[in-house]
């Protein structure tokens, strides 16, 4: 007999009016979509910047029509200066790491689906949630303001290494005001992320539906939960670091600027600060940030693969424990970004060991995915293709991590394209594949319409091949000593063959980037003209599929769901087919319990 739970007072009243419904909304679903939209704008902007950079690398004198409108100083006559290349590099990295890889898999999908997957009506603190998005949005506006100020965007890179990031205009174009905007933007971003992470954790701990024990939560919910624990620690450290940086820049303090520093022939009026301190604080945030980007995608991909395979993973628990240990270890390895910083070599050794240890849970997870796939009759569609692609990218990008984790090899490779190839594949592309998979999978729930599967498959094919064409050659370039961060190369420095390889990469980047417009078109077209979606188009088991598509403002209506099963009851004999929903009281025959 089905129990009913007690109707409780709503977290907030039904929204009324356009502003309350779509702009300053308290609804976690609207906030999730807002994050997604922001990430979408940021990713296309960041991609355009990478196009410009790739074009400049191989055709340094080519005129890009219209570029001079963006910056008269940075690109006189449409040809960018070396400094402007660095500006674009900085903005590309900052946009992608913060506003795309943190926002899309974690904040966007997490906001939309975490409360629904645990059977909650909304986040624990809807007002904080709204604030979290709008603070993040403000951070985005502050950052891109750097494009329109005369000074231009900063040239310090997304890591903003001190002391050059701290001394002001002597450090080059963009370093007077642009870098200050960067610092302010990231500080705001930290506040937004902290509010979001706090909300995720409190919601997961306290607002689960009846019967939703921790181990009955879907793997994606686990991933968002673990990620928010990481984010709470990481952004709480980056925020003070940004405050100290801004004080060094504007209040004359010397936290990061050493004594006797001469920049642009000028002795800097600072003393005694430690540039290494910035690197320690930054990477204490920066390395966990890598897992903030990748863990949600791991969760999303597991969630989708199980549905496509129609059977549970070999062990969902081990995947969850692996994600936890990755999160835990992520705080002991930040020094592996600093092997070439002049840090004590003994510390390098101490950071190298836990870094190599991280490969154990990562390998365990990969083996579980592959072992579960073995012999599985997987349904091929856009979502499952991107989920499979994620595993491919994660493995290909992760393998080069073995090399970089060892100081003796990293010292040689650190300043080369090998590192660029490594982190783009494992953190950037893999994480984005998780976002694509999540989009194709959850779009029907979010909009009530299906996305076009053929366009999705075409998008996958070009993106998958394209990503390998772009990022695999980077490893080779790095091994033969091609340094990164340079704005252009000449043949006698490069050797005759490398320039043609760079051209190949640029052309691949243009094609792969263009393929993303297929995705954008699919997204917009399907939103209005896609085939109507049923409540549960994938015959999935978790709670988000037990409610209408798109869900009403209070998710489950007036009734709170009751959970009877583990999240992934596939391959069983249920009333509706080979699956049993989590909130269905029926017994599952051949249960996986």
């Amino acid at each position: 007999m089905q129990e009913t739970s007690v109707p409780q007072a709503h977290v907030h009243a039904p929204p009324e009016g356009f502003i309350r419904k779509h702009v300053f909304s308290l609804d976690h679903k609207v906030i999730g979509k807002q994050y997604y939209g922001l990430a979408l704008v940021a990713v296309f902007l960041g991609m355009a910047l990478s196009w410009l950079m790739r074009l400049h690398l191989v055709w340094p004198n080519a005129k890009v029509p219209g570029l001079e409108l963006l910056s008269k100083v940075g690109a006189p006559g449409g040809v960018m200066t070396p400094e402007y290349y660095l500006s674009l590099l900085t903005m590309h990295g900052t946009l992608m790491v913060f506003f795309v890889l943190t926002n899309a898999p974690f904040a966007a999908f997490g906001n939309y689906f975490l409360p629904i997957q645990i059977g909650a009506e909304d986040m624990a603190f809807p007002r904080f949630n709204m604030m979290s998005f709008w603070v993040t949005f403000t951070a985005f506006l502050v950052l891109i303001t750097a494009f329109i100020i005369p000074d231009g965007p900063p040239i310090a890179g997304w890591t903003s290494y001190a002391p050059l990031s701290a001394v002001g205009k002597d450090a080059g174009p963009g370093m007077q005001f642009g870098e200050s905007l960067w610092g302010l933007s990231i500080a705001l971003f930290c506040i937004g992320s902290l509010l979001g992470a706090l909300n995720f954790i409190a919601t997961t701990l306290d607002l689960r539906a009846k019967g939703m024990t921790l181990m009955r939560m879907p793997i994606s919910t686990w991933a968002w939960f673990i990620t928010s624990c990481i984010a709470l620690l990481a952004f709480a450290v980056l925020l003070p670091a940004c405050i100290l940086l801004v004080l060094d820049r504007h209040a004359g303090t010397s936290f990061f600027i050493p004594a006797g520093l001469v920049v642009s022939d000028r002795l800097q009026p600072h003393s005694g600060g430690s540039p290494l301190l910035w690197q320690h604080l930054f990477w204490f945030f920066g390395h966990p940030e890598v897992y903030i980007a990748i863990l949600p995608s791991m969760g999303i991909v597991s969630h989708i693969l199980i549905n496509s395979m129609r059977k549970p993973l070999l062990s969902a628990k081990v995947v969850i424990y692996s994600m936890m240990s990755i999160g835990f270890l992520s705080y002991m390895v930040w020094g592996h970004h600093m092997f070439v910083s002049g840090m004590n070599p003994m510390s390098s050794l101490a950071f190298s060991f836990p870094t190599l240890t991280i490969t154990i849970p990562a390998t365990v997870m990969t083996l579980i995915w592959l072992g579960s796939l073995y012999g599985a009759d997987i349904q091929i569609n856009s979502a499952s293709l991107f989920a499979l692609g994620f595993i491919s990218m994660f493995v290909s990008g992760g393998v080069s991590g073995f090399f970089l984790a060892q100081p003796s090899i990293d010292i040689y490779l650190h300043g080369t394209y090998f590192v660029v190839g490594h982190f783009h594949l494992v953190m950037g592309v893999a994480s984005l594949f998780g976002v694509f998979a999540g989009t194709y999978f959850w779009f029907p729930k979010m909009s009530g319409r299906m996305m076009n599967d053929n366009l999705g498959k075409l998008h996958f094919l070009i993106t998958f091949i394209g990503a390998y064409c772009i990022f695999m050659p980077f490893h080779y370039l790095g091994l033969v000593g091609n340094v990164r961060r340079y704005s252009s190369f000449v043949d006698d420095f490069m050797g005759p063959d490398l320039m043609s390889l760079h051209k190949f990469i640029t052309i691949s980047a243009l094609i792969t980037g263009a393929a993303q417009f297929i995705f954008l078109f699919n997204l917009i077209y399907s939103r209005f003209k896609g085939a109507p979606a049923s409540d549960n188009p994938w015959n999935a088991t978790t709670l988000e599929w037990s409610i209408p598509s798109p869900p009403p403002w209070n998710n489950f209506g007036d009734k709170h769901p009751i959970v009877y099963h583990d999240p992934y009851q596939y391959g069983v004999r249920g009333n509706k087919g080979d699956f049993v929903m989590q909130d269905s009281p029926e017994q599952s025959i051949v249960s996986g319990d």
Partner: protein, 213 residues
Amino acid sequence: MSSASTVNSHAVALPAASAPAASGVIAETSADRASRSGIWLGLFTITMSFAAFTSALFVREGTSDWGHIVLPSILYFNTFLLLCSSATIEISRRCLSGGRLIDAQKSRKGIVWLLFTLLLGIAFCVGQFMAWQQLRAEGLYLATNPNSSFFYVLTCMHVLHLVAGIAVLTYLTGRILATHRTLRRSLFDNVAIYWHFLGILWVYLFGLCLMKL
């Protein structure tokens, strides 16, 4: 810590339990639990930020240009004020939480102690401002040396958190006076936890600034 009966997260709460019982005690709901998790998570985050500041201070203290400054003695008095305010908010919390209708005598007592807390909080901020003035008079500014930099940064950050606390207390006072109801237990508990935390944080920061390695 609270005498309210806790409802197991998975047990079905009886409808009667969510309405004020005769004793005036309201059962804890999941929203109460969430807000308590929220406050502890918030405190954890703030602790982590100050841990980052502390590690930066230790690194900086190891360098040659660290000039030890003599801290203004008013800081001892300020510490006393803030610790007193922890006591007053505790007395006030015991009178004013539970979500009951106002019991005239008890509530007057509670509101008076709440106002005392506010006053002590504001006095602490003024005291900190006077400490800054005194340092300025000695020619010790934010950028003078790393020790003064850290002193200003740490005290400013602490005062900012305290100002947020004062704003919340002011809002709560207004609400009690307007609705003639005491505050929900979880709400006042959380504010009190935050306020106690700021006291502990200040004692820690003060000790950190006094410490000479």
